[in-house]
């Protein structure tokens, strides 16, 4: 009597488990389907975005840079032409790039842009590093308050903040008025429309981009490493140069690039604070485009700037991949 019952039970169990398995498999298949779809979609969206809003405009600009300036609409020649024998003819004109190289103005402007953004980056690093360090070391509420103060300027328009600096730095501006009132100077100091004003503007505007990656890097740093170094006989200054600094190089590079790259192409700050006295590539680009209506040269300036900036980017990528490999 017991045996058949047993086997019946086993059979029903088997049956049940088979059902369960098929059900599970089905769920699995559906899950897989959606998972792979979603995965594909979530990866595709940023790429589609990049293609539409970066790659296509980039090729349009590249195309214009190889064209010839015309008084027409659009104000440049077409790259592709159907010749009489129905063949597609492509005309690449390198004159614009040659022109950039031949004309002193452009080379000088590029060099000056790189100089200004390099010095600004170094200034941001020198000011931002101690600030990031202090924020990391601050306790509890104070830390978040300090971080908030770093991010706070982003809540106001960038343009407005640069205008505010015009008010501060002008001959009759806040700073000069204060210095005269305090009896430090008799005559207002000329600060507007100089490289000095541009440096102030860039360092002020881009400092948070230096502080935040440095903060993130320093925050991760294990403080027991400092104790270990100090325990092994290192003076606090030595601890900084042998332990803290080498371990924050990724943060320094990230912050440096976040300041250097946008600062090199900066247009608003040199235009408003530097006036005509400070040559920076962003302004030249703008003038070529809007005042001279020479779109091909403007496009060539933009492409050359891009190439100039891709080099430090590649350096950064290389450094990062090397770090990951380590």
């Amino acid at each position: 009597m017991t045996k058949p019952t047993d086997s019946a039970l086993t059979a029903s169990r088997l049956n049940e488990s088979a059902k369960m398995t098929s059900h599970r498999q089905w769920v699995h298949v559906v899950d897989n389907f959606f998972q792979s779809r979603w995965k594909g979609l979530s990866v595709a969206i940023p790429y589609v975005w990049l293609v539409i809003f970066f790659l296509i405009p980039f090729f349009i600009v590249l195309k214009i840079s190889f064209a010839e300036s015309l008084i027409a609409s659009p104000p440049f020649s077409s790259l592709f032409e159907w010749s009489e024998d129905a063949a597609l003819k492509m005309t690449l004109i390198f004159d614009n790039f040659a022109y950039l190289w031949e004309d002193d103005l452009y080379v000088k402007t590029y060099l000056n842009s790189v100089k200004i953004s390099t010095i600004s980056t170094i200034l941001c690093l020198l000011i931002g590093y101690p600030m990031a360090y202090a924020i990391v070391r601050a306790s509890g509420t104070m830390k978040y308050l300090l971080l908030l103060m770093v991010i706070l300027p982003f809540w106001t328009s960038f343009l407005l903040r640069v205008y505010a600096w015009m008010g501060i730095l002008a001959d009759q501006g806040t700073l000069n008025s204060f210095l005269i009132w305090a009896g430090i100077i008799d005559q207002p100091i000329r600060m507007m429309y100089s490289e000095f004003a541009v440096y102030i503007g860039i360092v002020y505007s881009y400092l948070p981009f230096m502080i935040l990656p440095l903060y993130a890097n320093l925050e991760k740093l294990d403080l027991t490493l400092h104790e270990a170094a100090s325990d092994l006989g290192a003076h606090p200054i030595t601890v900084f140069f042998t332990v803290t600094l080498p371990l924050t190089i990724p943060g320094i590079i990230a912050g440096g690039l976040l300041v250097f790259i946008p600062a090199t192409g900066e247009f608003v700050i040199p235009d408003l604070l530097g006036g005509g006295n400070v040559l920076m590539i962003g302004r030249v680009l703008y003038d070529e485009f809007n005042s001279n209506h020479d779109w091909p040269v403007a496009a060539a300036v933009a492409i050359a700037l891009l190439i100039l900036l891709v080099i430090p980017m590649m350096f950064y990528q290389h450094a990062q991949s090397r770090q990951i490999n380590n």
Partner: protein
């Protein structure tokens, strides 16, 4: 002083009242805001000791160690190392090195550079640095891995780099914060003996912070048991184990069976009347006791004998019980035996024979007995 006695003092300077301590901690208190981490700790530690600070988490042992290293400043009290007051000496100038619980190896430096770091700070010549680093690395058997970065090493290897880095400066005092906590059991046992060997070879004084009582027992010359920022007992491992001063210590170090009751007297000795057990239990004779006092009789599991027949020994305390459960551990077996009054005792029996004639098993009726002199009297 007889020479034999003097020799004993050479090994155990803490027994010699005239010996100069190497480290003197005098009334050290540390407060963080309103929280007192370490309270009025005084401790003398002698040269060449392997001294353990033992206690649960938050007992103040690590804070005390950090004050010795110079990472924390005592709120009150003094710390003398080799006779010098360390209060105003910053961490980097102390003749002390520390091995961190997390090892704190510099991730951007090779093994070699990690070990050389301390020597470079002291301005030792290049040739001497490479010699001493090589010596140290060969001692911890890492010479062939010297070019590796810390993340390319296993946990045990990292631990040895940390040890080499702390020892290469030949400190007078080495502080070890939970040195073995991150290692697996096998490696831990092996490293324990390595540490003892190294300590023996170099004659450095070690202070080890640990929460692991077994580790403290095997490693140390002496143990200080800490609780709530205070030291509650200092002694050699056997003293702390065999003569714990409080119930807490007895419970923290090893396992112990306890009977609470009232002291009563009979002819020549004291007995304990335990409300749960009908028969009064004989107390050890050395204990100073008063009649009517509430005390606890404590007996270690390995000091209890368990037999199937009545031993008929009037010198011993004999009770009847029933085996509730037992665990075979290989070298020993642990039994839980219920005696009268629902009292459950733990007993460990060495497995002397591979196959006992009749192993004691579940539900067996047994006689358990112990010699009163092997038991302890504890007060709260």
């Amino acid at each position: 002083m007889p020479s034999q006695e003097r020799d004993a003092f050479l090994d155990r300077p803490w027994k010699d009242s005239t010996a100069e301590p190497f480290i003197r901690i005098e009334g050290v208190t540390k407060r963080f805001g309103t929280f007192t981490a370490v309270e009025a700790v005084s401790l003398d530690i002698y040269k060449g000791e392997l001294f353990s600070l033992l206690g649960g988490s938050g007992c103040g042992k690590t804070t005390l160690l950090r004050m010795l290293a110079g990472f924390e400043e005592p709120t009150a009290g003094h710390i003398y190392i080799d006779g010098v007051d360390m209060i105003d000496v910053p961490a980097y100038a102390r003749p002390v090195n520390m091995m961190f619980q997390s090892y704190a190896l510099f991730p951007h430096m090779s093994v070699e550079d990690n070990v050389a770091y301390g020597l470079k700070r002291d301005g030792v010549s290049k040739a001497e640095i490479s010699q001493r680093v090589a010596d140290m690395l060969s001692m911890v058997e890492l010479l062939e891995l010297q070019k590796r970065k810390p993340h390319q090493l296993s946990g045990g290897q990292r631990q040895r780099v940390a040890l080499a880095r702390a020892l290469v400066k030949r400190p007078k005092l080495l502080l070890l914060d939970e040195p073995l906590a991150a290692l697996d059991k096998r490696l831990r046992e092996q490293t324990q003996f390595e540490l003892m060997n190294i300590q023996d070879q170099l004659g450095v004084t070690f202070i080890v912070v640990t929460h692991d009582q077994e580790e403290a027992m095997t490693l140390s010359t002496r143990i200080a048991v800490m609780d709530h920022g205070q030291i509650i007992q200092v002694g050699e491992p056997s003293e702390v184990y065999e003569r714990p001063q409080t119930k807490d210590i007895a419970n923290f170090i090893g396992t112990i069976n306890m009977f609470d009751g009232e002291v009563m007297s009979s002819n020549d000795s004291f007995l304990l009347r335990c409300p749960k057990i009908s028969k009064p239990l004989k107390l050890p004779s050395q204990a100073e006791l008063n009649i009517g006092q509430q005390v606890t009789l404590a007996i270690r599991p390995e000091k209890i004998k368990m037999t199937l027949e009545d031993p008929h020994d009037s010198l011993q305390i004999t009770l009847r019980g029933e085996v509730l459960e037992f665990a075979y551990m290989g070298n020993i077996s642990i039994y839980r035996v219920k005696i009268e009054g629902e009292v459950v005792l733990q007993i460990t029996i060495p497995n002397l024979d591979r196959m006992a004639e009749r192993k004691i098993e579940w539900d067996d009726q047994v006689f358990i007995s112990w010699h009163p002199e092997n038991s302890l009297v504890l007060r709260d």
